[in-house]
Symmetry: C2
Subunit: 417 residues, 2 copies
């Protein structure tokens, strides 16, 4: 697939966006239900195509954990369908009047929520993203152009074909979803420069993918992603709260962006708390890497390097740092964090307030696990990712974050003096 | 100035942003007043430095219009100061609670407005932007790094020095504003890749500058700018409203992005309206370029090329196109416009509604001049530019658009099940 085909896809997406923005919530929900039904109906064909991807992955010696992420089952296809039905149940953000006011000259100005238009998504090997991303973008009135990983290409083509079939059967243009079938890296680069047609590009995947998109895209990017999340145990912490929160944030699911990667500890509680915490961490199989003060107290802790403090392990490893006061804790976190999710454990209201205000991150917690940074847990009903940048959207991104707005101005002949 | 110096500026801005986000509205307003006073006090020195820029520009044969944009006078410096005093009078957006809710598990989630952090601005030859951009970014709690045009370098250095002096005198870090003094293009390129420290980059200037920033920046960009704005005179237009609106939008100020560049006309009114409009346009010295139907009715209209319809003239030229119906008008506008400001003149409520909904632009008007797309005219009190992209901000950007938000989550020990 060359430049010309991408241009054509861009033009088709740009044309269909005007059709999509006119659909009512009821029409969109009917389509989402139909797509869910079609995916379940096509289970056999989708599993067959997924089998080809699995086969190739195993031949290439892919790690078993990654093969598992790639694998579809009847249950996982049903879960994709259920995800779409849930999106159908969410409120439609499009058309919401965000502000309305009248100017002294009689102009009536209204700020209204509208779809973004065309959303591009570049993602890695999970084929369920094909359906999830379509569902969210479609409900918010957007056309999508998807570029999945080469490992999942057969699965993605099959899932997209089912979605396109259901769209057509509902009388909606199938180009509401277009999948780039080429797995050529050069095509991915060209896709990132399609700003004439694509309004926003969202990368979903590991740090390498996200960096590549940020560096190469001329389309506005929403950076989602990496989380080097800290928990700070304050001098005034209730240590009975601190222990289960840390264990939950570190071990409940290790491979996710809102897992805790680093512990910061006030020196006043280190002797009382560290040995107790270490016991629980050992039991959970977590390797500990700390500074001199940590290593002096814990025989089995390794010395942490500067690199450790900047690292998103996504593994059973926790870095640990002792600080003299809240200022040092905040400075340490602001230096090493990735602006994702940070927590303080304290019973001191003033310290909690300072932490909430001064730590620079999308989500800042008092006395709770960082694992709650998630569209579902926030009550948004769904999410397309967690934004770690500050432009447009920050933190969990639901349907509203997949929209823009437009000003309408109604007058009766006003001219500018 | 090499990479290292930009790194240092980035680090300094990133450090000072924590100081700025803690300033109260009163403290910020006091600083803005002090800066205004310092600029007026330093008028002599600033004019002297501006004289050097003017001298060089005239030696280089710069166009008189551009020299005028570059020139400062005591009156223009007083106007810069007055702009800062006005910003001091605006409400502080920082700290506003945008949403607050409690989850079933007891977590209290609050979405609060915070500064973006560090804003980069790349601009062309008007030295007043140095003070304006600082004032808006500072009031919204941000540090700025500015890169002005080489033509205005002496003026910009003088203005920035006054601002830094006033900041220091108020006990605020002077690095709240940093000016890149190098006029090397390579330095500009490096600046556009400083995403480690700069949260957003806003280009202010012509189409070439904006394209260069969009193509080269790895920092999130807010695209401001070009306006190929249309006015559509509907079959149901009140032609007595249409005429002054078109003349105002085309001629009240020709060099601005919200000026009208193209007229779209329903064929049912062409014979009645075109000769009358042409008379007024001739009187205002506006050159007309139209399609076959326009040229058949107006002897002195030149034939418009496809390129004409896509052009932001910023001059006394108007392209003109006759259409058969509203659908054709909307399709033509959506094909050629730059998503800035578009107007319909009609007394038909249904056509007005369709135009408002279906035309893809930041600002869509009924029966009013496109010249109102402006932060002051919208009542925002000030503006840093007009966004023509859909991410983050669309249309006039005031103080709120120079902020992001953060979620704070307060619990009492919640862990994720």
């Amino acid at each position: 697939m060359g430049r010309t085909d991408l241009e054509m896809m861009g033009r088709q997406a740009a044309a269909v966006k005007y059709e999509l923005q006119k659909l009512s919530a009821e029409e969109k929900n009917r389509v989402l239900q139909a797509v869910a039904g079609q995916l379940v109906k096509d289970t056999g064909r989708i599993l067959e195509e997924n089998g080809k991807d699995i086969c190739k992955a195993e031949e290439n010696g892919m790690h078993a954990g990654l093969v598992d992420r790639l694998r579809l089952t009847a249950g996982r296809i049903e879960a994709m369908a259920e995800g779409l039905r849930q999106i159908a149940g969410l409120a439609d953000p499009v058309g919401e009047v965000m502000e309305a006011f009248e100017r002294p000259n009689g102009l009536r100005i209204c700020k209204k929520r509208v779809p973004l238009g065309v959303i591009g998504i570049i993602y890695e090997s999970r084929p369920n993203v094909t359906a999830d991303a379509f569902g969210l973008c479609f409900k918010a009135g957007n056309a999508v152009i998807l570029k999945g990983g080469s490992d999942a290409i057969c699965s993605n083509i099959a899932v997209a074909a089912s979605i396109r079939e259901a769209l057509g059967a509902c009388g909606v243009s199938a180009d509401a979803i277009q999948l780039i079938e080429s797995t050529d890296r050069e095509v991915a680069s060209q896709f990132m420069k399609l700003n004439r047609y694509v309004d926003v590009l969202i990368p979903r995947g590991g740090a390498g993918l996200i960096r590549s998109v940020v560096e190469n895209s001329t389309i506005p990017v929403i950076e989602t992603g990496t989380g080097n999340c800290h928990i700070y145990v304050d001098k005034y912490a209730d240590l009975d709260k601190a222990l289960p929160i840390i264990i939950n944030a570190k071990t409940q699911r290790i491979g996710v962006c809102n897992a805790c990667e680093s512990l910061v500890l006030h020196e006043a509680v280190k002797e009382q708390f560290l040995p107790r915490l270490a016991g629980a961490l050992r039991e959970a199989g977590v390797e500990m890497r700390g500074d001199r003060q940590v290593c002096d107290l814990l025989e089995d802790a390794a010395e942490a390097s500067d690199e450790d403090y900047g690292k998103e392990y996504l593994d059973y490893i926790l870095s640990m740092k002792v600080v003299a006061d809240l200022d040092e804790a905040i400075a340490h976190i602001n230096k090493y964090n990735t602006k994702h999710s940070e927590a303080i454990i304290t019973e001191n209201a003033e310290n909690a307030k300072r932490f909430l205000e001064e730590v620079d991150a999308a989500c800042v917690y008092v006395n709770a696990s960082t694992r709650f940074t998630d569209g579902f847990e926030f009550g948004f009903g769904a999410e397309i990712g967690i934004s770690t940048q500050k432009l447009h959207a920050r933190g969990p991104m639901g349907l509203k974050e997949l929209t823009s707005y437009k000003y309408t101005i109604e007058g009766n002949g006003q001219v500018r003096p």
